[in-house]
Amino acid sequence: MNEYQTFFAMGGYGAYVWPAYGLTALAFIGMLGWTWASLRARRREEQGLSAAGRARRGRREAKS
């Protein structure tokens, strides 16, 4: 076995060690990605709604 194979074999425990690290990577990417996506979407939505809200207030004040 070359040194890569030795490393990935993990002394015969590769089938347990790598899934543990793989799942950790997935969990971290999942938490960060999902949070980042929802934060961006909400920032955009809030900007649109606050602009519309300011426009409504402007029209109301112009009428009175």
Partner: protein, 247 residues
């Protein structure tokens, strides 16, 4: 009311103000997390020795133990915030509980699965109904229960309040998890990190473990700040929609 008269913490219930504050903290915690994770993974996978009994399988410890610690710290922080939310009625405290819950659930799940992957080669079983494992599984269900409850009400404020009470009731599970290995005969090994006589672990294994715990902690701070801003924005969005609907 002018901003000067709003108490400091309440000022940060405004998503824009909170976003500016967290924008100053985030680069540091995110950078620290990336560096600690890179160093931690290097020492965990390459530059630490195999265990004299467990061989290379001991490397699972470097993700299992940080995940386990986070599962408890996050719940403890949620309980403290839940209490603060009930006592002082502070919006940020209520929303912190909601922002942190999915992260705590993910860490708990990670702890259980990594533990299972470690248990199979070492104990010969994926799962045993041992006190430590069972109390950690109860913690996972507490997180899931909170997540189901917090969104089960039409009024988000009632969901937050009901969830806060659930979190406070469930806090009794934390000492049970911590002391389960002392109170009962468990297959799970007793504490080797936080003991009266300090860590009972060789430096070569303590270093990668501490780096990974640091990486997990700073990662949590980074993501929970983002989630808190996101929850504040969701609240603001609801308020704008209500205002638009009233006209």
């Amino acid at each position: 009311m002018t901003t000067a008269r709003i108490p400091l913490l309440h000022r940060y219930a405004n998503p824009a103000a909170f976003g500016r504050l967290s924008g100053q903290i985030l680069p540091w915690t995110a950078g620290a997390s990336a560096i600690l994770l890179a160093l931690g993974l290097y020492f965990a996978l390459f530059s630490s020795p195999p265990d004299y009994q467990q061989g290379e399988s001991v490397r699972i410890m470097y993700v299992h133990v940080p995940a386990a610690i986070m599962s408890e710290i996050v719940y403890g922080l949620m309980a403290a915030a839940a209490a603060a939310g009930i006592i002082w009625k502070h919006a940020l405290a209520d929303l912190f509980v909601k922002a942190a819950a999915p992260l705590g659930a993910a860490f708990t799940f990670l702890c259980l699965v990594a533990g299972s992957l470690w248990g199979k080669p070492m104990w010969g079983a994926w799962w045993v109904w041992d006190a430590r494992l069972t109390s950690e599984l109860v913690l996972f269900f507490l997180y899931l229960g909170y997540l189901a409850l917090v969104d089960a009400f039409d009024d988000p404020q009632r969901g937050l309040r009901a969830g806060a009470i659930l979190v406070l009731v469930g806090v009794v599970d934390l000492p049970i998890i911590k002391f389960s290995v002392d109170w009962w005969n468990t297959l799970h090994q007793p504490a080797s990190l936080i003991t009266m006589s300090g860590p009972k672990m060789d430096k070569s294994m303590l270093l990668p473990l501490m780096l990974m715990i640091g990486a997990f902690t700073t990662f949590f701070i980074t993501v929970v700040l983002m989630r808190l801003e996101s929850e504040l924005l969701a609240r603001r969005i609801r308020a704008w929609r209500t205002a638009a609907g009233d006209e």
